[in-house]
Subunit: 188 residues, 2 copies
């Protein structure tokens, strides 16, 4: 029986339901991908993560590694690619795990789900879950990568000012007003 | 004894250590802020979240609400403001919880930490934790907000193509090449 970063598959399913809210196929596939990354790390002790999509995969990383969005060790580049990289924090040497489309051929229900070939109600969810569980990370490939320097540098803590428009504390290097008052606020 | 979304403070500290990796002051303050939001929600059943900083607070939201970055119910606007909003998913009516600087006066160690007035090694961490635990959400304020329409609309699933440069699947509306191949990739 496959394990996912030391968890039984059953236990991982529970972790997914509790954190992500439902058994999303992307979370299950993501679990196997994170497991593949963790089992193929370069030399080192501390590893950050980059996720190339915002959908599902960041949660698999957050559940299975020390990297979260709030502690800054997980960064998300919303490029819509189902891939992740774990890299050594200080030298940037990393391992990228990605879905390799030709390798999806033996897994037609996964291929169909991945490319959104069928409307949701025509998908056979049970068969999809079975193929995901059988495939593990077989339809993924790994590649060694080197992170660009900006991903390896770590910013120092900067100072905070009071925004003269809204009165809240904001990082002074953002300008004379906070970014929210400069127009980025999401409120009407 | 204060509770945080139904958890004892002790239990919340354990949740923080397990998920975030360490007892970050921002996580403890964040817990009280999320609790305040959850206790002051407008009418409704489903709520999304917006976080106005990338530091710590997103993890408090992910631990205490159904909203995560991977399920899309949590969005992060990296504006550097220590504030969050929970809003009704379909009509956008929300409650914003933010740190209100004048209210920090009774809590000098928290004020000092928040504005980074002292270098880390001069901070009295024990006193900081005590003040955070005593203050709860007392130095925060709440405001009703209405989300801009783009935060309330939900995008439909789009189609995927194979990128002719890297061979991976990507959302076709991103262009003739995937965003990674268009230059957004983080690798050397
Ligand atoms: Zn402002
Ligand atoms: Zn590409």
């Amino acid at each position: 029986m496959k394990t996912i970063c030391g968890n039984t598959y059953e236990h991982y399913l529970d972790m997914v339901k509790n954190f992500h809210g439902h058994l999303a196929p992307g979370m299950l596939i993501g679990g196997f991908m994170v497991d593949a990354a963790v089992n193929n790390l370069p030399e080192g002790e501390f590893f950050d993560a980059v996720c190339e999509t915002r959908a599902c995969l960041p949660d698999a990383i957050q559940l299975l590694t020390p990297c979260t969005i709030g502690n800054g060790w997980l960064k998300i580049l919303n490029m819509g690619l189902f891939a992740l990289t774990m890299f050594e924090k200080f030298d940037g040497e990393g391992i990228r795990v990605y879905v390799d489309p030709p390798k999806l051929e033996p897994w037609p229900e996964i291929k169909s789900w991945f490319f959104k070939l069928k409307p949701k109600k025509e998908q056979n969810f049970e068969l999809l879950l079975k193929q995901i569980s059988d495939a593990g990370a077989d339809f993924c490939s790994l590649a060694k990568v080197q992170m660009k320097p900006e991903y390896v540098d770590h910013k120092r803590r900067k100072g905070f000012d009071i925004c003269r428009q809204c009165g809240e504390a904001y990082p002074w290097e953002d300008g004379s007003l906070c970014l929210s008052c400069q127009g980025q606020n999401p409120y009407v």
